[in-house]
Amino acid sequence: MKISHHLDDATILAFAAGTVGEAHGVLAAAHISLCPLCRSRVKSAEQIAGAILADESEASVSDQCRAATLASLDAILQAKPAQPKPKSDLPLALSRILGDVSLRDIKWKTKAPGVAVFDVPLSKGTSTKLKMLRLGHGRTMPEHGHGGDEITLILKGSYHDRFGRFAPGDVADLDHEIEHQPIVDSDEDCICVVAFETKAKYKTLLAKLAQPFVGI
């Protein structure tokens, strides 16, 4: 998988800090698991945090905390074993949520000819959404300005817009003010996952009309 479009530095920093929203975190992790470059970028960002911690001033820790920590060591023998990985052709971050599900088992809801969606369930209370989209050849997503941070990961097929061609593994990590109009250019359906903030506002009247229709 040759990856040409990567996560934004600001997303890498937020992911490393642990302050990214749930949907964006799942999507970033899915890309990072496919992309050695972004893995190394996360590592460098974590090193900044490590340096901050190393240079941090000291707050006095109570004797009780120290004693309780030392006393509990005997009870701990091994780190918990890792959970087995689901059998799936989806990136691990997604199959952790969906389980032993392959891309062809997704229960798509058809919204229009050539447009189907699937909502990836997230925790209650998150202000983010994660949606899978399946778009047929030549389909256009409605032009929209981004009311919030939006990241798209391509799983299958491809599309192009003014930023280039997006193929499996690529992410479009767009600033909130950027407008674009992706058109599917692969013969097969283009399947992508989009993380966005639920407060995101769609800009054009067409998009406003299409929003409840397409469901994004």
């Binding site: 992790a29 460098s44 974590e46 945090a49 707050a59």
Partner: protein, 196 residues
Amino acid sequence: MHAALVTMATSTTDTQKDQFVEWLARIAASRDRAAFAQLFDHFAPRLKSFLIRKGSTAEQAEDLVQETMIAVWSKAALFASGKGSVSTWIFTIARNLRIDRLRRERSQLYTDLEDFDAPDETAGAEETLGRSQEDNHVSQALAQIPAEQRELLILSFVEDVPQSEIATRLGLPLGTVKSRMRLGYQRLRKLLEQMN
């Protein structure tokens, strides 16, 4: 903006860093409680201060310090010195435990990614030694980038809020906050490349 954030002292020496790696190795090899106590005495107060800056109460911070240090004990064998410093490793453990506690996202996203970064067994001793000094390099590099970029880079780790919230607090457009973070991060990476 906190003045203390801007002028960070490089208080940890290279000798100390090799010492941290050695303590971890002793914990991993022989469940060495004395080594653990020393590691605790060095990192627990720093971790507590870091967590309080992130908005924890003293009590919450101590709970998380305890949980983090217990994880350090049980995971010591998993630390790979060629892949970064002990303080970076401890930061990631504390971050993941904090995420679990806040239930804001999934810490499994992070632990799963560790499997994609299996320790590189071909890395020689020289590489490991170079890596063990990384905190100092990062601190030095941080000191060399423009203050407004450094402040935002540090805030992105110290403030436990999304970048949009940092922007609101500073009264800056989100785009400005992000572009300063990007510039700072890019400059920092360039400086680190030159040092290595």
